[in-house]
Amino acid sequence: MKRDEPEMLDLLAAEYALGTLRGAARRSFAQRRERDPFVDRRVRAWEDRFASLIWRLVPVAPSPAIWTAIERRVGSAPRARWRALPAAIAAAAVLGLGWLLWQQLQPGAPQATAVVASEAGAALWRVALAADGDYIEVDTVGDVRFPDERSRELWALPANTAPVSLGLMPASGRVRLVLDDDQRAALALAANVAVSDEPKGGSPTGAPTGPVLYVAALART
């Protein structure tokens, strides 16, 4: 068949990899690739040739919720092992449940942390974004003092957009600030967090009203 001449086949492989081979032709070429290692090699060669074009694109960090969703979809136990040990499925299920419960009790390493420090460099609070991105924990680690009638408010500073409030800082001890989708999205795009001086209860406007007292870099872990 003329179509099978190597030259012709290679150009079909190129159009498949480029994405311009569409419809029924695309589907039948994909099947052919599965069956025929020669065709597969031609397609792989073109995929690799074109791949370097993506270094021209600026990388974009996904929202934290995406990884959580992927983990849910791939399941929490190694499937191959379950298949290999059918007799142990019940036991494994019990272990799996135990593991899940354990996971919930052990939230794991935070995905990002920041240390808010005074101008003199003394650490005041440690801010940690939970591994699943659902909440922030703020620990008072230094000598924090502010007037009773004022609050200290924490903000995410996403690149190119307005600060997003994350909640109020504790005067002592630890607080957990549960995040909504907007806050999670802002944190995903933020390189820094800030703390501002606000009336008691926090900014009445949704934007910082008092001076920004501290800015701290978010270190992704």
Binding site: R44, F50, I54, L57, A112
Partner: protein
């Protein structure tokens, strides 16, 4: 989230894929951290909707986890394998959702032609990138433009034709001849 990886991460990405094939979940998470920003950029260029691109990113990584055993490092690059999965998924979704907007592809970088300086690209230190860029640069401008639009925007022949306002027949022939010339150049 870890810093996103560049082309120099190829050996690391290949190792992580091999570990995923052994069902190593930590390696899978590391792979996600390293590769997802670049793959999301690629998906965004094709789907042009953050929500759709992030959904597609999930599909891509679920596929990667399931198919990591099919990746063989001797038969091509790990990045090439990942990017292909992402692009094919986006092209699939794009066809189903008919989500194309009419925004122009103005943000796509120009590839410099023969007469323009190449230092910036060669400076990346990546031979494959430089070879592709040089060979794209040697194509006729219309051929180069059509191939880049098709690749980065995930466009079909008719999509490219609509984008540049030229007849479908001309676009098909530019792409076909451009690919043949690209192949000769890359193999020489």
């Amino acid at each position: 989230m870890a810093e996103s990886a560049g082309p120099e991460s190829e050996p690391e990405i290949a190792r992580l894929l091999a570990a995923c094939a052994r069902q190593d979940r930590q390696a899978f998470q590391r792979l996600y951290e390293r590769a997802s920003p670049q793959l999301l950029a690629c998906l965004l260029h094709i789907l042009r909707s953050r929500a759709m691109a992030e959904d597609a990113l999930q599909d891509v990584f679920v596929q990667v986890w399931g198919r990591a055993g099919q990746f063989e490092s001797g038969r091509g690059s790990a990045w090439g394998w990942l990017i292909a999965i992402a692009r094919y998924r986006a092209i699939d979704l794009q066809r189903r959702e008919k989500c194309l907007t009419t925004e122009p592809y103005a943000e796509i970088d120009e590839i410099p032609g023969d007469d323009e300086p190449q230092e910036a690209i060669v400076g990346l230190g990546q031979r494959a990138t430089a070879a592709l860029t040089n060979c794209l640069g040697a194509l006729q401008p219309r051929q180069r433009e059509c191939i880049l639009l098709a690749y980065q925007g995930g466009l079909s022949h008719s999509g490219v034709a609509a984008e540049i306002g030229e007849p479908l027949g001309s676009v098909k022939s530019w792409i076909r001849r451009g690919l043949a010339a690209l192949k000769r150049c890359l193999e020489s």
